[in-house]
Every structure is written in structure tokens, then in C-alpha cells.
């Protein structure tokens, strides 16, 4: 079993390696990095997706989605309830706390079918649910749209997933507001299927639940149906590729073998990067009265123990509800745990293109910077070199972007890395040897 001590040893080794690399940066072929703001004045931009031609769709959490065309025009396509200026809008779409309009993806066959996919909080499919935080609450959805040829409007909205769980009310937890932990990153895998991440929405039984969608990575077709090769445990929803996650907001596919990797927020401790295994369990189980724990506030032990006080990060990593609980035989052990810290890993993208030099094929991980309880903030993009078997890392270094921002979303396009930041901008980060 993979032990934390090994991870920490790897971290120390990596830090030492970084110092060595810095001293020989030029002779080692380290790429030169430049970052340029390509859009600003946005309101909580969350994710972006590109057509092969270079048009960039992007979401703003409480507003809607737009497109910046290859020619530079910005067209506001589809807004949320109460917004203005969009070509059309959905009155069922809303934002609350961490929830809102989040992930976006472009169909690999966009040139022919003009389809894009967007994840958002919605009131359209709640039915009689959502009466309290313990009720089933189908409040996060994935929508499919068709984009007009002139890129100025969308039509034929179809809600292809309507039962991703949502937190409707406040609870007695840090970050305890409604709308917590939605996941909602969307990416197409190399096999042409849509992968969607979901979050535990502060409900203790969700991540290990066989049928409620939350704390999973879903692999579905463009109608929302399960990939036929998904292999979750017997009795589980077949749309699940993996389960037992906390709040996955980063997912991408390693270019060398197509394997999916996630980057995930930790609960005060242990942000994680994990190589996914079909049907695997990420090991997050915040239920009360299991694993030696007693009762917890609102039946969710995700911030225990001592959830209202700062603790030394190392002590919390040791004592806290584990991100990857080794009780589970189908556990997918993390490749990296951010030295036991939780700083908010919000996104991930493998670096593609020879311009990235020896960083090509490594995983860029966006970290928002969350500094509670003695944890250093650490707003940055890390470059993580993951072993072939996906169970460990060889090194982690910080990308010299010159930016100190809350990195929310990362996406590769045409050899460049694009980043949304909470400060209201989208950056293009380029490398040259």
C-alpha cells in the first residue's frame, strides 16, 4: 500500500531537485514561459473550451457562457436567470456559493454537429426533492447546445444529465454555505466520450453511494448514457467510471497512454492527483460513525476533527478524515498529495507540444491558494512528472508564470496553456525552448 511517508520523501527529493534545476536552467533546456492576459473584466470565469479553429467558449459562474471567436469578437451566448446581454437564457440556471455555470466542453465532431456541453446548477429537475440537505437533490445538470454558424447564438438545449446532486441549504461546516462541492469539470476523453466530475455536496453518504451522482467521475456519451465499458461495482450507476471522490475539479488524459488523471481538493489537508482505474474507489468516505469516528455536524465528517479551529497542517493530515481511506480494497492510491496540504487544486492539463521541452507530457496543476489553519497560500501552477504506473511522482516544480492568481481552470490548445483565474481574467501561457 502506498504510504504517506513515501510521498513526503518524494516531495523532499523533488524540492531538492528543483533547487538543482534552477541552477542549470538554461543548459537543461527548460522552456521559457510567458503569460499574456487575453480577456479581462470577467466575473469569475470558470472554464474554457476550444474549437479546432481556435474559437474559445468560456463560462462565467454567475452569468452564462460566451465565445471569443478566432477573429476576436466576444459573443454572449446563453445567460443564467437575471442576467442581461445574452442572446438567450435559461431561467432555471442560477449560482449560489460555489455552484453556478462551471464546466464547458466542445464536441470532438463540432465542425459537423456544432455541439457544446455545459454544466450548471439548475432548478429544472428537482421535482419534489431538495427539501433539506439530507434529501435527494437533482440540482446540477449537463446541457447540450448547438451553436449557430455565425457563432452568435445557441439552440436546441438538451439536458443530457439531470440528476447530479446539489447542496440546497447551509450546514454546520466551514465553507458550509449552499452550493458546495459540485465538481462539474467537463472534458472529452481520447475515446470521444464525455467525462464529467461531480462533488460530495457535503452529504456524508454521497461519495460511496451506489446510485446518487456525487463524488464521481462519469463517463458518458453525448446523450448522457453510460459508456458501455464502464465497470463500477455491482448495483452502482453505470455512468460512474470512478466513485469515492470529494470534489474533483481537475481532469485530463495523459497523452502517452490516454489514462485519465484527476486533481482534487482536499479537506484542510491532502490535495490529491490520482490515476483513475475503471470502477475504482478514490477512498473518500465522510460518513459519520464509520472508521472509528463518532457523530459529526450534520452527519458529515469531512472537516473533522476540530473543524472550527486551525490545526498544524501535518497534524490535520494525520488525524483528519482521510482523502484516500486504506480501508477500501478497490482504493486508487494518489500519485501525489501536495505534501499533505490543501491549497485548492482546481484544475489540471497535460502539457502538449515540443515547445514545452522536457516538460512535455507532464501535468500542469492549477492551485487557487487557500490559506487556513497555518497552510501557506501557494497560488501557482505546478508541473508534476508522474510515474508510468501512475502511483507516484518523480518531481514537482512550480511553473514560472510570474502570476500570483487563483488558478481556477486550465486547458491546453494548440501548444499553449490557457488559464481562467478568479480575478476575472483568462491567460494564455506560452512556452518556447
Amino acid at each position: 500500500m502506498f504510504k504517506k511517508s513515501k510521498l513526503l520523501s518524494a516531495a523532499i527529493f523533488s524540492a531538492a531537485s528543483l533547487l538543482a534545476f534552477n541552477g542549470q536552467a538554461d543548459t537543461m533546456g527548460t522552456p521559457k514561459i510567458s503569460a499574456m492576459s487575453i480577456l479581462n473584466g470577467l466575473e469569475n470565469p470558470w472554464d474554457m473550451a476550444f474549437t479546432k479553429k481556435g474559437d474559445m467558449f468560456f463560462t462565467e459562474k454567475c452569468k452564462g457562457f460566451s465565445v471569443k471567436t478566432k477573429k476576436g469578437a466576444v459573443n454572449k451566448l446563453y445567460g443564467m436567470k437575471g442576467t442581461s446581454g445574452y442572446n438567450s437564457a435559461g431561467d432555471d440556471l442560477f449560482c449560489e456559493g460555489q455552484a453556478g455555470m462551471l464546466g464547458i466542453a466542445v464536441d470532438p465532431n463540432f465542425k459537423k454537429n456544432r455541439r457544446i456541453y455545459v454544466a450548471s446548477a439548475s432548478t429544472a429537475h428537482r421535482g419534489s426533492g431538495c427539501k433539506d440537505n439530507f434529501d435527494v437533490c437533482n440540482g446540477n445538470i449537463i446541457m447540450r447546445f448547438e451553436v449557430s454558424k455565425d457563432m452568435k447564438s445557441v439552440s436546441n438545449r438538451t439536458d443530457i444529465v439531470t440528476d447530479i446532486q446539489y447542496k440546497p441549504f447551509e450546514s454546520d461546516h466551514p465553507f458550509g454555505g449552499p452550493g458546495a462541492h459540485n465538481g462539474n469539470r467537463l472534458r472529452f476523453g481520447p475515446e470521444g466520450y464525455l467525462w464529467a466530475t461531480t462533488g460530495d455536496r457535503h452529504k456524508g453518504d454521497i461519495p460511496q453511494h451506489p446510485t446518487l451522482l456525487g463524488g464521481n467521475v462519469l463517463r458518458i456519451d453525448t446523450d448522457g448514457k453510460a459508456h458501455p465499458g464502464n465497470n463500477p461495482p455491482k448495483g452502482f450507476d453505470k455512468r460512474m467510471y470512478t466513485y469515492g471522490h470529494r470534489n474533483v475539479q481537475g481532469i485530463d488524459f495523459r497523452p502517452s497512454d490516454g489514462r485519465a488523471f484527476t486533481a482534487e481538493h482536499g479537506p484542510w489537508h491532502n490535495d490529491e492527483i490520482t490515476a483513475l482505474v475503471n470502477g475504482g474507489n478514490a477512498g473518500w468516505d465522510p460518513k459519520e460513525k464509520v472508521a472509528g469516528r463518532g457523530a459529526c455536524p450534520d452527519m458529515y465528517c469531512g472537516y473533522m476533527p476540530n473543524q472550527k479551529e486551525g490545526m498544524l497542517p501535518a497534524a490535520r493530515a494525520e488525524a483528519g478524515t482521510p482523502m484516500s481511506d486504506e480501508r477500501f480494497k478497490d482504493l486508487m492510491p494518489p500519485a501525489w498529495n501536495n505534501n499533505g496540504l490543501s491549497q485548492g487544486t482546481g484544475s489540471a492539463a497535460f502539457l502538449k507540444g515540443s515547445n514545452w521541452g522536457y516538460w512535455e507530457g507532464r501535468l500542469a496543476v492549477g492551485i487557487m491558494g487557500i490559506a487556513f489553519g497555518g497552510t501557506p497560500s501557494g497560488m501557482r501552477i505546478d508541473i508534476v512528472d508522474i510515474t508510468k504506473d501512475g502511483k507516484a511522482i518523480k518531481s514537482v516544480i512550480q511553473m514560472p508564470t510570474g502570476l500570483t492568481k487563483r488558478f481556477r481552470g486550465l486547458r491546453m490548445h494548440n501548444g499553449d496553456l490557457y488559464a481562467t483565474v478568479d480575478e476575472g481574467e483568462i491567460y494564455k501561457i506560452s512556452a518556447r525552448k
Binding site: N44, P174, E423
Partner: protein
């Protein structure tokens, strides 16, 4: 004589106002320590963390003292209680003075 009274009153007013309004520069330095990680540059508001730039001094002071006392106000109070606990009265005044100057600018 009337002018002397006015001058005395104005001097008292400005000195008093200075004394209770805090030092924006010191507030800026304190804000930079850890407030900006959530509330963003100049208190512009980020993600689910609200904009606090441009709020009035009494509001900011009262809220910070309420959090410091461990009283909940809103769903993410536990985080603010944790952050406000170590603040001194002077630090609260300085932070309020800084944020009331609307360092993030108009939206």
C-alpha cells in the same frame, strides 16, 4: 472668538476622526497577509467570497468584531471567525480604513 471655537472644533473633529478611522496603509499591509487569498486584490470579491471593497467603516468594524467574538453571520462564518480571532482593535480599525477607501475600485 467665534473663529477660535470653530478652529478648535474642526481640529478636534479631524484628530478624532483620524484616531477612530485607522491607518489605511497599515490596513493594506495586514490585508495582504491572508485576507486577499479569498476576498481578492483590494477586497474585490472572488468565487464565493464577497466583495468587501468600498464598504463603510462602521459596517466593516462591526462585522470583524462580531466574527472575532465568535458570532456567526452567514454560512461561511466559521472561516471568518477563524481569521478574525487574532485581530486587535487597531488591526480592525486599520483594515476597515483600508477597505472603506475602495481599493478595488468601482465595479
Amino acid at each position: 472668538m467665534k473663529h477660535i471655537y470653530i478652529a478648535l472644533f474642526l481640529s478636534f473633529f479631524f484628530v478624532s476622526n483620524k484616531a477612530i478611522s485607522g491607518d489605511p496603509e497599515a490596513g493594506k499591509a495586514r490585508y495582504a497577509q491572508n485576507c486577499g487569498n479569498c476576498h481578492g486584490p483590494g477586497g474585490m470579491g472572488l468565487a464565493s467570497y464577497p466583495r468587501i471593497s468600498g464598504k463603510e467603516v462602521p459596517y466593516l468594524t462591526e462585522r470583524l468584531k462580531t466574527y472575532r467574538a465568535g458570532t456567526k453571520v452567514g454560512p461561511n462564518s466559521d472561516l471568518m471567525i477563524m481569521m478574525a480571532k487574532p485581530l486587535t482593535d487597531l488591526e480592525i480599525e486599520n483594515l476597515a480604513a483600508y477597505l472603506a477607501s475602495d481599493p478595488a475600485g468601482k465595479k
